[in-house]
Structures are given as structure tokens and as C-alpha cells.
Symmetry: C2
Subunit: 134 residues, 2 copies
DNA sequence: ATAATACTTAAAGCTAACTTTAAGGCAAGA
DNA sequence: TCTTGCCTTAAAGTTAGCTTTAAGTATTAT
């Protein structure tokens, strides 16, 4: 499979796939005789994993760490597990912050009428003030 | 309250507060006779709101849109409500993506032993392959 | 055979969101 | 009075994460 197909399947731009390969976020992809990339299932899965983590806000540098750790299998398993656990914790923290913001917006939406009246009141009093000052 | 205190209370760097003011993400802050900013409750609330939305991944440009809409009260209420609803939807979408990634990591953590064995297997077969080729 | 479309690389360019720097002003304490 | 530690601005610098460009090669369709 060439890079265009890989891009369509994973919904990651070809330029980004090349960039990910250069940055070692995905392993070096196989090439045919003329140097053209040939993506297999494994490659596709690695791209999809990278996308999923990026979409969830994991930084490139962390993703790289994670992958290097797993590529050097000699590294301590504890360290690998710890990284997984830590990243999960960070993501949960971020998810909770998002939930807070969602709740905040939901509240504003619910009280929209009241909210609008308050703003209009403020505006009226501002205009009154302006006239007084003239 | 000066910018340092405001920064401590909101946990937003002073430089960022100045930047937010310049970009109209928060309203122009009051100044004393010598031009030094004097933050009141309202200002603090606006900074905290901006922080909350930024932490949840809302872009500066969207935040600006949102605020401009509310500052020009003449703008259609429908438009304002629509923006709120749309932003809430986007955030929920993002939150769900995060949840997926969290689940993915949770799965890896749970099956860590198995996962490690598989990796070690792969490594062994790679090494075997290498020897064959010599 | 030629045109259109793919692919390749390295390097430069871009955008968002700050952050730092430089150069100076004010106010309080030793 | 001098030093310390705030404050101010405008402008330049930084970082992440791509994206675009330029220049060339290969494959496919007509």
C-alpha cells in the first residue's frame, strides 16, 4: 500500500506520515526497489495509534519516549509500565478539565435568557451613566 | 490588586495576562494614576474563564469570537447561543476522543505482561532471522 | 510517446500561543 | 540617595507540529 492509501485509511496527511517516520514516531516503513514506501498492517496500526494519542493531546515528545522505550526491549519493564500509567493519569486529568469547561458552557446555555437580561441591564446602566456624565 | 497577585490567584503568568488584554480576550483592565493595572473581581473572573476554556482546548480565536459577540450586545442572541452550543459540542467530541485514548492505555496496562511477552517473542524471532541471514 | 499523477528528499515556511528582552518609570526601605 | 523590586511597553524570539516548496524520479493512462 502506498502513502496515499495509508493516508486515506488512517486519516493522517501523507506529509505528516513522512514527518512521523523521520521523527521515529512510527518505525521505518518498508520500501520497494525504487525507494517508494510500502505500508503493511503493522505500519498502519502504528500510525493510527499515533493519531489516537495525538488527538488525545499527547505530545510528540512523549509519544517518542514511549515508543523508544518499547523499541529498546532491554529497558526496564517497570519504566514502561510507569510511563503508561503516568500518561493515563495525565489524560484523565485533562479529560476532567474538559468536563468542567463543558459544564460551565452547559450552565451558560441553560441560563441563557437570564444571562442575556443581565447583560442588557448592564448595557442600559452604562448608557445611563454616559448621559449623566455629559 | 496588581498583576502579580492577579497572576498568583488565577495561575496565569503575568505576561500571558498582558497578552490576553492586548488580544481582547479579557477587557481592558483599570489603571491607577501612574498607569499600573489594578485588577478587580470582574477582571479576575474573566481571566479564570479564559484559563478554563484554554485548558479545555478552546482556541484563542474562538475565545475572542465568543467574547466579541457578548461585548456587542446588539448581535443576535441566536448567534451567541449557537456559539455556546457549538463549542460545547466540540468539547464533548474532544473529551470522547480522550476517553478512547485512556481506554486504549488502560487496556495496554491491563495486558502488560502478555504484551511484554509478545514483544520479547518478536525480538527473539528478529534475532534468529538475523543469524540465518549471516 | 507524452502527459498526468504519483512518489522521493531536504529545507524553508507557517501558525498559534505565548515568552523574553530591552529600556525605562515609580515607590518603599536602608 | 541608592538599591530593590515592582510595574510599563513594543518588539523580537521561541516552541510545537506540522505544511509547503523545489527539484527530481517513477508509474500509469491515453
Amino acid at each position: 500500500m502506498n502513502i496515499k492509501e495509508a493516508s486515506q485509511i488512517t486519516d493522517v496527511p501523507a506529509s505528516t506520515i513522512r514527518y512521523y517516520e523521520k521523527e521515529n514516531i512510527i518505525p521505518a516503513v518498508d520500501r520497494n526497489e525504487s525507494g517508494v514506501r510500502d505500508f503493511d498492517d503493522h505500519a498502519i496500526r502504528r500510525i493510527s495509534f499515533a493519531k489516537k494519542m495525538r488527538d488525545a493531546g499527547m505530545e510528540i515528545s512523549t509519544l517518542k519516549q514511549y515508543i523508544n522505550l518499547f523499541d529498546n526491549v532491554e529497558d526496564s519493564e517497570d519504566e514502561q509500565l510507569a510511563l503508561l500509567v503516568e500518561q493515563k493519569r495525565l489524560m484523565e486529568e485533562k479529560r476532567d478539565k474538559m468536563q468542567e469547561a463543558i459544564d460551565h458552557l452547559a450552565h451558560k446555555i441553560e441560563n441563557f435568557d437570564t444571562h442575556m437580561l443581565r447583560i442588557e441591564d448592564e448595557l442600559r446602566s452604562m448608557k445611563a451613566n454616559k448621559k449623566e456624565r455629559l
